[in-house]
Symmetry: D2
Subunit: 372 residues, 4 copies
């Protein structure tokens, strides 16, 4: 489907995140032409100052004849209709996270792509991040001993979204990291969330229970925090690791320390119950390639070679199911099993979605904007 | 009851924390003699190297005739029997946090002290910390605008306790800070906890709901984290504050920034939903006195003057009720109303208490040791 | 001289720093066409992937007919011949720091530009940095009380240059900041330097003496340090300021503290000689525009309007004179007066220049490369 | 000379630093009695609240009959007369750094101690610090490859001294660390210093040249800086190390990275001249004992066993010679050879000493106070 000289890629939505895709696509040898697809002419104009060869289209319909593949970087509520349209036209699709705003939509997208035989990939950027690969390797090789638990924090005075809450905006990163590092998906989820400066939730705490390995993982996301935090903590019986994505030099720190129960001393409460072990701290050198570049290159490779993407539709669905379960948990104040959100079409009346989102979608035009 | 030259104070339990009391008491003009009460002769010996005038007693019974007041710094499960014994002898009592291991015990201690007319104080050190006073003042004067939420973290590769979990060991600090800063107690509690390196919980997340003001506060405590964290975050509509107790120079940082909903722009999803405001960061200069010193001086003042302590028995009970509710929430996976733990004697079969704790208590001798 | 639609700008040398100019020039409304001038075809090719409208020329001679102004971002030893050639052709010139590798060359360039009536500007980026403007304002308004001294550090495992040492590579930034902030130039210079991993100096310490105000300023530069440091400290009698350019949030911290002599207490050595004052720490919010963008826009404005640049040739010469004096001081182990390097053509046999630099220049072709 | 039960130690001067010695001496098994010797009765009183068994004397004459050894922690200008008096009485002496305020005095003290057969030790605390031992070991085992240079910084809004400048107050620590780590003493010294808030120098930069190994070391000391800094940087061809004494967890960081000259590429200035190597960062776990405790224990051991102290008089003299040479360099603006200060009695008219210091000493009484 690609022309002789390479892939023709369209980016739908050229806000903050879409324009990063456009920058990155320019570095890829396999990409021949790049199109920006955005109803806002100012955005296209501004981008074409820097990239005069950019093609520009007002909407996806106009663009489809001129592209082989599209990257959808629009507000989450528009992911499904845009993706389905591109798939129907036989175009390969990468959708920014979250793949969809509920599991039923995600399943519909997967089914459509399978039926039409095109690539459907989700933009879980952190699965293309060399630090996250290192975390995964440490877990898979059991370098931390018995893995005890994980804890993540993604905080900031953040970019609020119009059509989704902080769970659907920020937590996809953490859930995708956790699933990837553990090589598993959770069996149940608990969630606390609240909204303060907006009608959609802007602070959330999730707790994911994995069965194999038997691990709990805690996720803290916030659009409403004075300090930027991007941190993953993994605690094992032998070692403990912190991945701080804001550090430029020592992103990963492996603490060779731990605690174990002291030999039983009878009933002497005056003795400390544990013995402690302290060792070196090591920050392994990481060769960093920009994760978005790795991701987009992988998407192009999959399109050209027919290879199955590392973060395909099923991967995106797994994350959306967790988010949907989290939302249900927050609404009902109880732990939610993942299987509860698996049988159903739509479990939730989507309380996280603002009314205007539906309105926009119902008139069929594709609103396009920032994603992060 | 004090002798002419000043107060005679006994410290029961001279482990890590008890020996700090002994150091601090030496600086108080109002204290005439200090006694260490610990069955472990090595500890008393080691302390008396530094403090040769220290009196030493093997147990509380022996010490009682020689002291006017006692500070109980033993494992939590021993707080109640030791305090009741001292109260029964007409001695004033300060109990380290938590006041007791369940609310019923705390109530019994309060009633006993009232009946006997002695001071009962709880060692909520942070309520004597000038940074916490500043947090309280900012909230009371509404300097943050509308207060949105609070979040605290108290993490470390910490000192495990023999007879209580991390909730009862570390969270008392945070709950006491929150109650003090907000001038209120929560109406309900949610809790997630887990144990990894020990049979007692070593990682916990609490969520406290206050009604007036209508605030949620989140508490993260861990004995099993590679990095030491001591942090309180307060987020308001006008300002956001971080109190980092590990900083020596800039413990409190006030961020003059915020976010508010942008004027309604119809249904244009491409417009950012919020407007952001960024301003200066200010670290007010704090005059720091060691909180434990301020606390112990206040205890001595209360004993000598009959003044009611700032952190009296009721204050200690309020914290214990929250912990008991948290424990119940973790066990039952649901939100627990504080009123549920108020009517009852003992709600819980005390799953947080290790078997040996009961054994030790049943033989009537007072085990004595570290507290933190 | 500019065409109707805007300025035609050529960037000579499209290595690390030159390609930043190319990126930034794309954002300027007043710039119509941009040309890259580099003998290395790979570099031009790589840039034109991202910027397909870029014109490319192999050398300055070929480019001159097609540009109104040039930015010279080549190794320092080539600044003079390239600038003189562009000036002779009536083109406006911005030269990256340092303006030249000795004061005599800088004077020759200034004289040529004046004679030909074109703009000669030097790329002292930090004079276009809003944090540096704030430092200058604090000094000019005497907000620090009596200014005592300044200290700067610019360290890293840095990008070694082929044709100049660390003094000429990194110290221009600090000297330009100091001259700008103080509104003065030093009267004398001391310098220690050494070379370790290269035949050119890679570590240097400078001490600049200003007369009005009467201030010493210390500059530490290194290409050979494990940690990146970009720091300016200003100490006054009332306040002390740190500008840390690596901080994204709190680049400037104003410490409201100080020390002053205690009232004379006779000859009692046991009394502390000073009284100390401690106050708040304030990080003022800075509106940050990329300094290079501000600089390039200013260059374009000067070219179009005939305005005199803020960092014109004389400004660049003042910095080069300090560097030349520093080099002389290091060689002779003594303090060097600035007037010593002012009367002369070339004071130094340029020991900082590697032999090949001369060789390259003598064959008349313009070697082009990285600058930083 | 010691009595049966252990050593009797007197501490002369019980200010900030002297009282630390008193605390530490209480932990030593080999010390039987401790005396505080200070003309200020309030200080002795305050200490005896905490240490009721402390003996107290108003001056050294009164104390000498009751002690076997003395630790002199008084202002530097009083070190010599106090030490000579104690030595003359046959008492062992540890003198806080600097051993004396000029090399001639230091030599006189050494000669006196040798003649009388008593221990003379200097309190170079950092030579008893396990992090410094590790630095020394890395250098001695050549783990950094070729050692290139060292750089130290000791900054703060510091405790000004009455009778000595910042060079004699703070730099002894750095010079002692450097001599110890390199296993050598410098052959020449350069120094820049200035005074701002006091008539004595409060900011200084030293440059020490060692011959074997052939190393330069730079020392920055300041009493007048907004931020506390305690840092040693060692740069080698293979590794680079930072020792940050303010870190509690990762005091030493070993950066396995470096730079070396790239293979000669002819005269192509466009090629980078160096090749860079990046590797892990390791913070080795250090077992920390309080250095002052290790030091005082070593002093007691030397007194009891006749062992020669690690930091004996000659070690103290070596540091004082460097300081004296530094002072001369600052005064004369030139590099000073160490041999210049070796032949002489007193090279300098002691410009660093305030007039009152001499006055105090001339009346024969021992002024006593803070040291740091």
């Amino acid at each position: 489907m690609t022309n002789a000289t390479g892939l023709r890629v369209g980016v739908v939505g050229c806000g903050y995140w879409g324009s990063k895709h456009i920058r990155v696509l320019h570095s890829l040898e396999s990409v021949a032409t790049i199109a920006v697809i955005d109803p806002n002419p100012d955005r296209a104009l501004q981008l074409s100052r820097n990239y005069p060869a950019l093609e520009a289209y007002k909407n996806l319909d106009e663009a489809l004849p001129h592209v082989d593949a599209v990257i959808i970087a629009t507000p989450p509520s528009t992911h499904k209709p845009l993706a389905l349209k591109a798939i129907a036209a036989g175009r390969h699709v990468m959708v920014e996270k979250p793949l969809a705003t509920n599991a039923a939509d995600a399943r519909e997208m997967i089914a459509a792509a399978e039926a039409r035989g095109v690539v459907l990939m989700v933009g879980h950027t952190f699965e293309y991040h060399s630090a996250v690969w290192q975390l995964r390797e440490m877990v898979q090789k059991r370098e931390l001993g018995d893995l005890y638990y994980l804890d993540t924090a993604r905080l900031n005075l953040g970019l609020y979204q119009n059509d989704c809450n902080v769970l659907f905006d920020l937590a996809p990163h953490d859930v995708s990291i956790l699933n990837f590092v553990l090589g598993a998906t959770p069996v149940s989820v608990q969630c606390w969330s609240s909204h303060h400066a907006h009608q959609l939730e802007d602070v959330g705490y999730l707790r994911l229970h994995y069965k194999d390995p038997d691990i709990t993982a805690n996720v803290h996301v916030s659009w409403l925090d004075p300090c930027k935090v991007r941190r993953v903590t993994m605690v094992g019986s032998q070692k403990m690791v912190i991945f701080n994505d804001l550090e430029s030099e020592e992103r990963i720190k492996i603490h060779d320390k731990g605690v174990s129960q002291a030999p039983q001393l009878g009933e002497d409460l005056t003795q400390p119950p544990m013995s402690y072990r302290y060792g070196d701290v090591v920050s392994p050198h990481l060769v960093m390639n920009e994760p978005l570049l790795v991701e987009d290159e992988h998407f192009a490779d999959c399109v050209l070679s027919g290879m199955v993407p590392l973060t395909g539709g099923a991967n995106g669905l797994a994350v959306v199911e967790v988010l949907e379960a989290a939302q249900l948990s927050a609404a009902q104040g109880r732990e939610v099993l993942l299987e509860e959100v698996r049988g159903s079409k739509v479990v939730l009346a989507e309380p996280a979605m603002a009314p205007q989102a539906t309105a926009v979608l119902s008139n069929g035009s594709a609103p396009i904007g920032d994603l992060r």
